[in-house]
């Protein structure tokens, strides 16, 4: 029950457009005693129905630029295979540490971007 509430919150954040999985994985591993790799697997599976719903809305709204999506997705598939292979090969503690570093990087870049965004919004509102 608590699990579904937590994932609803993270889904809401994901639906707004900033990574839901980035929140879901640390919550699952630290509060629900689920292993790092299983948490990642859960997040991958949960992303599929979520993104199908989102894509349906987005494609209908004409916001998906397929010309740019195609090269990225084509190049991304071998990348995903390599990444998943590495994830299967390394140990859990090591994977957790890399994931922590990745989270740190994203958190810091969000702080920076937040500053930029707020100034941009201010400028925009001044214009109006």
């Amino acid at each position: 029950m608590i699990l579904s509430v937590v994932s609803a919150v993270s889904g809401a954040i994901g639906g707004m457009g900033i990574g839901g999985g980035i929140i879901l994985i640390p919550v699952l591993t630290s509060f629900f005693d689920i292993g790092q790799k299983s948490a990642q697997f859960i997040n991958l599976i949960y992303f599929v129905p979520l993104s199908l719903c989102a894509l349906f809305v987005h494609i209908k709204g004409g916001r998906v630029e397929f010309k740019k999506v195609l090269p990225m997705a084509l190049a991304g598939v071998p990348g995903a295979l390599v990444g998943a292979w590495v994830a299967s090969a390394v140990g859990i503690t090591f994977l957790k540490k890399i994931f922590g570093l990745f989270l740190l990087y994203i958190g810091i870049s969000f702080f920076k971007e937040g500053k930029k965004c707020s100034t941009r919004v201010l400028r925009h509102s001044k214009k109006q």
Partner: protein, 151 residues
Amino acid sequence: MQVKNISGLIRHSGVLFYIKIHLVPNIIVGRMNYMKNNLKLIFGGFAAGICNGLFGSGGGMVAVPVLEKSGLDTHKSHASAVAVVLPLTVVSIFRYASFVSVRPGVLLPVCIGGSIGAFVGAKFLKSVPSGVLRYAFAAFITASGIRMVIL
């Protein structure tokens, strides 16, 4: 007979020559141009794939800024990033299924809750959140990142 053959040969080799001189380079140059124009997208997509495969998330985090730099606005790049990450996720799931297993008792509530939450979030909060919510998100991520690196 021989002359005819030779002329045919010449004509044939002429066609081959034409293909060699014009068509093949055109195809190669065209493909190179395609690659060059999309080089950033290709590298960004590869990086997004690696993140998505390795961490089970975060492909979108890499794909969105790449798409934004390629000239899309924020909304479009968020929407396109979802379309980029979906095939990567499907590929990763097949790979992950060979070495991890999950209890359906965990998977089911997560999927149901997540889908409801995503629907609500997409429906009622159409804009990308900014301000306090964004800072709270950043703080949570940074804190859990520190915790994961240290512990």
